[in-house]
């Protein structure tokens, strides 16, 4: 009764969870474009897309991807053999246990007329499958907790997944062990199946089971004489053998039985097998109910992601289907961290302690964003910064074992966050090169805005630069600022500048404008001079910094060996540092 009720509750949570989660695929919007498509259109387009795919040649691609990437998981294999073994053990072992053992009533009994969980090969196979899963869990634990890989982040979600699985497996294993040694279990079997009344013959059977089957009896203990065992064997052959193989075949359970033999009687009297049975099936129900939520849901979403990405294409697929796929991909992520371990920008994390740099953690933040969670300005800017600190090298997308198109995901989220109006200073770096290449994919009016906003935000903290009359105060120079400029050990060379203007004369950016000062603010030689005078605002507030090509013409040709380009680099670093943490009111646009 309790068994069924608890099962149906878990099943109901599972079912509702499944519906809820699948609905988010059509409701969540990632990126600017997705916002304009209603969920109903997305559902309709998805069905249409799936149907059209099934009746096209693409169906062969689906079949190939299903066998190679979903079943055989070649994408994991390509990454790491150990992880492939780990995942294959867990998922193959678990699927087989599910089909043969958990659903025995519906599958095994139907398929095999002589199915009985206590006879071979089923008894052996159950433990074999169990052993696979346990091996897989052991590798997972080893990888996550013992092998300390830098930047491999393990979070609560990973713990839950491992814990639930481990409880299911261990409780099952111990349950089997306690049942093997259980005397009450033995008695119940005798009652049901042994057609014997004779005391002596029953004792002989018991002796045989104690000796050969590991049962721990309170009265009958070895050593036994040959004759008793022989008699016991005869009865066994008639009454028991037909549906009970020797427990040694259940090698895991038998191993456990041997370990607990000294305390077997106590365990049996305390009815521990029943307790373990409750733990076992309740853990299974918890696993079932938990399935649609968090990490375990990848069982459904990851194959879909692999299949969808195999037949979809940014240029040709319907934008609403791409929006749906991107929402689904968030659920497909297993937090395996392959992306992070391969990330070209992962190393930036050492000096920018922002978890959102790491792709596997970015996904978690994007999940929160997509779910419409209220995030503070600080959190949003943190996410934007993390997404911007990406070289768009596409490695994450290439290596993702579940085929998520991460690069497109970053692109869309980046654009929608940029649109939200927070200044992102990292846009003023070659990290924007890719965004420039993709400018035709950005709404035309939105493209330039973030770049202007970042420049304005920096200018906003440099008062002096904004003074129209350019009357400079005679206040003492900013010593702190001056001494700060020696990171690259050559940048403090500005002090020997004698103002010959060679740097400005050879600068191709200066040469590009008829009236360069109007566009660029201070010119290179003026910036060097400002540094010498310690005029922080002038040096940092000039547009010239961000328009510098870093072509090193100025530095190469300086007769005084001033490292002009290095100074400009350092001023850029300094400018970013000054404004990065500032709240929006101080650096935002004054309307």
């Amino acid at each position: 009764m309790f068994f069924s009720i608890s099962f149906y509750i878990a099943l109901a949570i599972f079912g509702l969870g499944l519906i809820y989660k699948a609905s988010t695929w059509f409701r969540y919007n990632i990126g600017v474009e997705a916002k304009e498509i209603p969920a109903s259109v997305r559902v309709f387009k998805a069905f249409k897309g799936i149907l059209l795919t099934f009746f096209s040649v693409k169906v062969f691609t689906l079949i190939r991807v299903f066998f190679l990437e979903v079943i055989l998981q070649t994408r994991v294999l390509r990454q790491d053999f150990l992880r492939w073994i780990m995942h294959l053990c867990i998922y193959v072992g678990f699927m087989l246990l599910l089909l043969m053992h958990a659903l025995e009533k519906y599958i095994s009994s139907e398929l095999f007329a002589d199915y009985y969980p206590t006879i071979n090969p089923f008894m052996f196979l159950r433990d074999l499958f169990g052993a696979l899963v346990i091996l897989g869990i052991a590798i997972a634990v080893y990888r996550r907790f013992i092998l300390k890989v830098p930047r491999l982040a393990t979070n609560a979600m990973d713990h839950y997944a491992i814990i639930i699985l481990a409880i299911v497996m261990l409780s099952g294993l111990l349950l089997e062990g306690t049942k093997i040694v259980s005397y009450s279990g033995y008695q119940a079997m005798v009652e049901d199946y042994a057609d014997e009344d004779d005391e002596k013959r029953l004792k002989a059977l018991e002796a045989y089971w104690v000796k050969k089957f590991g049962v721990v009896s309170p009265e009958v203990k070895g050593p036994f004489d040959e004759e008793t065992l022989k008699m016991g064997e005869e009865i066994h052959e008639v009454s028991c053998m037909g549906c009970h193989s020797r427990p040694q075949w259940a090698f895991l359970g038998y191993g456990a039985a041997k370990i607990i033999t000294p305390i077997a009687l106590g365990l049996d009297r305390a009815n521990i097998p029943a307790v373990l049975w409750y733990i076992h099936f309740l853990a299974c129900w918890i696993g079932l109910a938990y399935l649609p939520f968090r990490k375990m849901f990848h069982i459904f979403a990851s194959p879909l992601s692999l299949l969808a990405n195999a037949v979809m294409d940014k240029e040709k697929s319907d934008p609403s289907n791409i929006a749906t796929r991107q929402a689904m991909e968030l659920d497909a992520c297993t937090h395996c961290c392959t992306c992070t371990l391969n990330c070209s920008a992962g190393v930036f994390f050492e000096y920018f302690p922002n978890l959102n740099i790491l792709p596997s953690e970015k996904i978690i933040s994007i999940k929160a964003l997509a779910a419409g969670k209220e995030l503070s300005e600080h959190e949003l800017r943190h996410i934007l910064e993390g997404i911007y600190l990406c070289t768009n090298c596409k490695r994450c997308t290439v290596v993702c074992p579940v085929g998520i198109n991460l690069q497109d995901l970053w692109f869309n989220v980046r654009e929608s966050l940029l649109e939200s109006g927070y200044p992102e200073f990292f846009a003023l770096s070659p990290l924007s090169f890719y965004r420039g290449l993709m400018r035709n994919d950005v709404v035309k009016e939105d493209y330039q805005e973030p770049l202007n906003r970042a420049r304005e935000a920096i200018a906003a903290v440099c008062d002096l630069m904004m003074k129209k009359d350019r009357a400079l105060p005679l206040s003492p120079t900013d010593r702190e600022f001056k001494t700060g400029l020696n990171l690259s050990t050559q940048a403090n060379t500005y002090s020997v500048c004698f103002g010959c203007e060679t740097c400005t004369t050879v600068c191709p950016v200066v040469a590009n404008y008829e009236n360069p000062q109007e566009v660029l603010g201070l010119l290179p030689h003026q910036i060097m001079h400002s540094c010498g005078l310690g005029l922080r605002d002038l040096a940092l507030g000039s547009n010239m910094l961000w328009d510098c090509l870093t072509c090193y013409q100025c530095q190469e040709q300086c007769p005084q060996n001033v490292s002009v380009t290095e100074v400009l680099y350092e001023l850029k670093n300094e400018a970013v540092k000054q404004v990065k943490g500032k709240p929006r009111e101080q650096i935002g646009r004054k309307s």
């Binding site: 090298c393 596409k394 200073f425 400018r439």
Partner: protein, 296 residues
Amino acid sequence: MKFALFLGCNIPARLTLYESSARAVLGKLGVGLVDIKEFNCCGYPVRNLDFRTFLLSSARNLALAAKENLNVITLCKCCFGSLKKVDHLLKKDDSLRKEINSILHREGLKYDGEIEVKHLLSVLYHEVGIEAIKEKIERTFEGLKIATHYGCHVLRPSQIVQFDDPVAPSIFDQLVEVTGAQSIYWERKLECCGAPVWGINDNLSMDLTEKKLMDAKKSGAHYLCTACPYCQMQFDTVQKMILSTRGTNHHLSSLLYPQLLGLCMGMDGESLGLTMHQLPVGIIEDYFIIPKIAQT
């Protein structure tokens, strides 16, 4: 001769033809390449933002190569410049080296300053040598005029990168002339392609690119030749955008050096990625000298 191949971020994602053509050419010349999967960004894109991140990024790559005891060959000039710069700084500055090594140590890595960084062109010129290249050439161009674009970060700061004479470089021109093509003189040869500010100030970037294109075309070039993914994408992808947004018409295609050399080594255009450009390359094979036997 064996090197660790440093591809950087752009080539695998957006310019695979550079990788495949460089591999093909280097393979034929007997240069062994080792891939180090753990390589990360060289740090160039974050140099505007944070000096230490820039340092660490390059230093980690150098340490990874040191672990394999291999010198590094780069295809990208910005990666080259970054790795060289960081190598120079860390060699000179003990306290910086210590700080960086304390971070690298956590992964069992160490920067020790023993690794040399070379660009594809310097490997071809200095290590392989013009004569050895000539031996592998099966056919040569005639009447083909090439404008070599050196790229800033390979030339300057010259004291650090030590690639060639920064005022009158000749390595690239000599390498081009091996193919029988003529390396023409053009005024803006040593200037920036515009890529460093693409995405930051597109108008400025396009101005600079356009000026270079006009100059090269005016000087009679049939093609530009580059050996850097940023320059190449600027002259290909960005030029295409310039053509469509500014309506100007000085279309001048750009080739990567290993494509040019590969053609002369007898490789076919498609395998060298000539069909993968954004702007049509045209039929460069027309410039090949027709072998005497075929003429008769």
